[in-house]
Every structure is written in structure tokens, then in C-alpha cells.
Symmetry: C2
Subunit: 248 residues, 2 copies
């Protein structure tokens, strides 16, 4: 990496500055999912000299890894205080095959902690970092080649998100505050990547006891317009913490 | 830590030796669960000078974190090639409050990667390490005070194990190769810490399509003795990898 003005405004190369600011050998990578027009997207960065990668960064000496992830996410999306979930740490010594940094702390082996987030697509203003030329949404079905093990990281994040639907609710912050059952169904189908049975879905969803059915329909007049629902935020939050009712 | 013969037979203090052998700032802690006489146990070490802790260790420069966990587990239990699952990385800078090491790499902040394992109680021969005076099984309901954040680590491992029952089978290597439905039920009840409905359990379990019902009963004679089952290992392994049928 050439000498350039760092993000801290200093004229020291990043690999020198990094050594004094961050823990060695440890990074954070974020898989940021968004939901838009019925498809699931993931936010990717493109380096100025080529490859695509996940938005990531390093852990400051006095910073928790969770705070590092929040900071990185805020830098890339402008979003604050959103749902971020650590899902796996990737620690294969060969995970950065073909690493292009040849000197300094950044050339060393890094173990990376993976986080994923579900964000409101419309509220995100993707911002490339100083090393990147682009920061854009890709459809998860058609992401480009990624550096290192980043494709595996995305795959595992998606799998974790899918499995999490068995234990935790999803939808708050992704849907409008009032939504219909078909809208909620569509969100689940998009995340799971498969069609679901409408009746079973509705029955299961209502049994979770996290929804409040409103005395309103989607459109004023039509008789068959679907009813609107909103989340019971207290029960939703409890389910996020404790998990949904066990199926056993 | 006083100078002592290290585990590598060298007369150098551990904090010097460690610096050259291991990645800085990174450790691994293992929550090892065993099932015995209808209760869930966890394996704990006691330091020679006092507190109880989880069996843990460090990551060699050329070693994957998974291999580190396997090595540590083998050192403590004698067990090879068992099911070990990474569940969370703990990276709060204050997690080691009251740390007693004052110099060298070991006095620095450590981020620790947590793994849990389910092992066959009867096959484990707990072995204290060179810094410990005891390595024994404790009932998860009544573990002693633990150093640092180790109690939180145990709690999260247990919670992860419980949630995992929604997505993955359990029992292989914990039960005899042929077992009855009541024995399998007891294992689930023990892990979940609650009683389950016998009929619902049997129905759900059979629907998972991982069991083979044998044409044998538990005891030769009695007419009401329960049937024996074994796991369909191919389907069991697939379910471990891909997850059980989604409930959505």
C-alpha cells in the first residue's frame, strides 16, 4: 500500500499507523444484508486496484470487537445502532491466500471475526473507504468473485441468518411499521430462498405471539384487502433475546 | 508465573516461551459438556493457586483456531476427533478483570474464541494441565465461581447448545449405539433443562427421519419393553451439516 494521507489525516503509511492503533492479527468483517424489491442484497466494496471484498476493519487496542463492528458498519453505511450479530470467527492460517501486503503488521496472518447485519435498504448511503473505489449492493444470488475466504464468509452468514429464523423473529426495521401478512411472508421467502405455504406460515407466525393485528386493512375500500399488522415490540425484543418458543 | 519446566521441557518461563510460539492477544476456551446419570456436566480446571476456569489455551502461529481447540481438548480429555463447535468470540477489553499476570505477552488483553463439545462422559479421563491442580466434572446446575467472564462463556455455550436442538440432531456418541425413545427423550430433557411431552417428542423425532427403528426391544422378554432405535448415520450426518428440515 503506497503512502497516502490516512483516514486520520496523518502522512504515515497505513501499515505503520495500524500497528500502533490496532490489535495485531485480528480483523472484523461485516456481511450487510438489505431487502429491496423482493430480493436479498449484500453490500460489497471494491478495492481501487481490483478485487471485491466485504467491508471490514481492525480492532482498536481499547475497543471491544462488537464496537469495532459497529464503527465499521457506521463508516460504510451511515447507520447507527442497528442489529449486528457476530456469527463466526475465521481462523485458518491459509485464509488469506494471495495476500498482497508484503510488509508490516498488515502482511501478517489475520483471524477475522464475522458479523452480519440486516439493514433498511432505503436508509443506507453506501460509502467507499479510502482504499476503495466502490461500495454497492449486490444481489446475493449473483455476487462477484471475492478476495480470500470472503465468499465463504457470505455463505455462512446467509446460512446463519436462515437458521436464525427458527429461533428469532425478523422484520422489525426491514418492513414498514404496519405491514400485511403477504409482505411478511415475502420477506421470509426471500431470506430462505424458497416458497412457503401461505396458510402454514400465517398459522405459525400468529402462534409466535409477536404480532398485533390492527383493525385496518391495507387499502381503504376493497373488501378483500389484507389486514395490517405491527410487531408487539416488547414481545419481539424478548423473542430476540430469549429465542422463540422452543419447538421441543 | 514463576520459572518452571514448561510443557515443552524447556527451562524458560511460560510468558517468554508463549510469545514466540503463539499469536498474541488470542486464546481459545472450551466448554466441554458430558452426559452422566441423567445430568449435564461441564469440565472445569482449578488453578494451583485458586480459581476455577475453563480449559483453554493459545493458538500457534501456523495453526488454525479449530485445530487449537482440538489440541486443547485432547490434552485435557484424551479424546480425539470429537464434535467441537465454535459458538462465539469474546472480545470485551474488560473481560479479564483482575488479571494476575503483570508482565509479558500473557499480561496483555486477550480475545478468546469459545468452543463447545459434547463428549461421552465415560470415555473421558480428565487431566489437569501444568498450571492446574484439578480437572473435574461439575454439574452445570451448580458450577463454582469462575475467573474472568468464564461463567458467561458457559452460559452462552449452554444456550447455544439448547437452540441448536432446533436445527441439529444430538445423541450420536452420547447414547449407546442402540437406545430407546425414553433414553433419547431423557437426553433432550437434560440438555433443555425441562420436561417434554413424551408423545409430541416421539412424533417430532420420528418426523426428522434420522432414526431407524429396530425389530428388537430393550429387554428380551417383557411385552411392554420399549423398542430399540439407532441413528441412520448418513442422514444424521447430513442433518448435522445442512440442518434439520426447516420448520417454516
Amino acid at each position: 500500500m503506497a503512502k497516502r494521507k490516512s483516514e486520520f489525516g496523518l502522512k504515515r503509511p497505513f501499515h505503520e499507523l495500524g500497528e500502533s492503533m490496532f490489535l495485531p492479527h485480528l480483523s472484523v468483517d461485516c456481511v450487510i444484508f438489505g431487502f429491496h424489491e423482493g430480493s436479498l442484497k449484500v453490500l460489497l466494496l471494491q478495492w481501487k486496484d481490483g478485487p471485491w471484498c466485504l467491508p471490514g476493519g481492525f480492532v482498536k487496542h481499547e475497543e471491544s470487537i462488537d464496537r469495532s463492528a459497529i464503527r465499521i458498519l457506521k463508516e460504510r453505511t451511515g447507520l447507527d445502532a442497528i442489529f449486528l450479530k457476530q456469527f463466526h470467527t475465521f481462523g485458518d492460517p491459509d485464509r488469506e491466500k494471495g495476500k498482497r501486503f508484503k510488509k508490516g503488521w498488515i502482511s501478517k496472518r489475520f483471524v477475522t471475526v464475522g458479523y452480519y447485519a440486516l439493514v433498511e435498504y432505503s436508509k443506507v448511503f453506501p460509502q467507499p473507504d479510502q482504499l476503495s473505489s466502490a461500495c454497492v449492493w449486490w444481489d446475493v444470488q449473483s455476487i462477484p468473485d471475492l478476495i480470500y475466504d470472503h465468499k465463504q464468509i457470505v455463505a455462512l452468514a446467509l446460512n446463519t441468518l436462515r437458521l436464525s429464523l427458527n429461533d428469532h423473529p425478523v422484520g422489525y426495521n426491514l418492513l414498514p411499521s404496519k405491514f400485511t401478512m403477504p409482505e411478511l411472508l415475502r420477506l421470509y421467502e426471500t431470506i430462505l430462498g424458497q416458497e412457503l405455504d401461505r396458510r402454514n406460515f400465517q398459522k405459525r407466525m400468529l402462534s409466535l405471539d409477536i404480532l398485533i393485528k390492527l383493525n385496518e386493512r391495507k387499502t381503504g375500500g376493497a373488501h378483500k384487502a389484507p389486514f395490517l399488522y405491527r410487531f408487539d415490540k416488547k414481545k419481539y425484543d424478548r423473542a430476540m433475546k430469549q429465542g422463540l418458543n422452543q419447538s421441543w
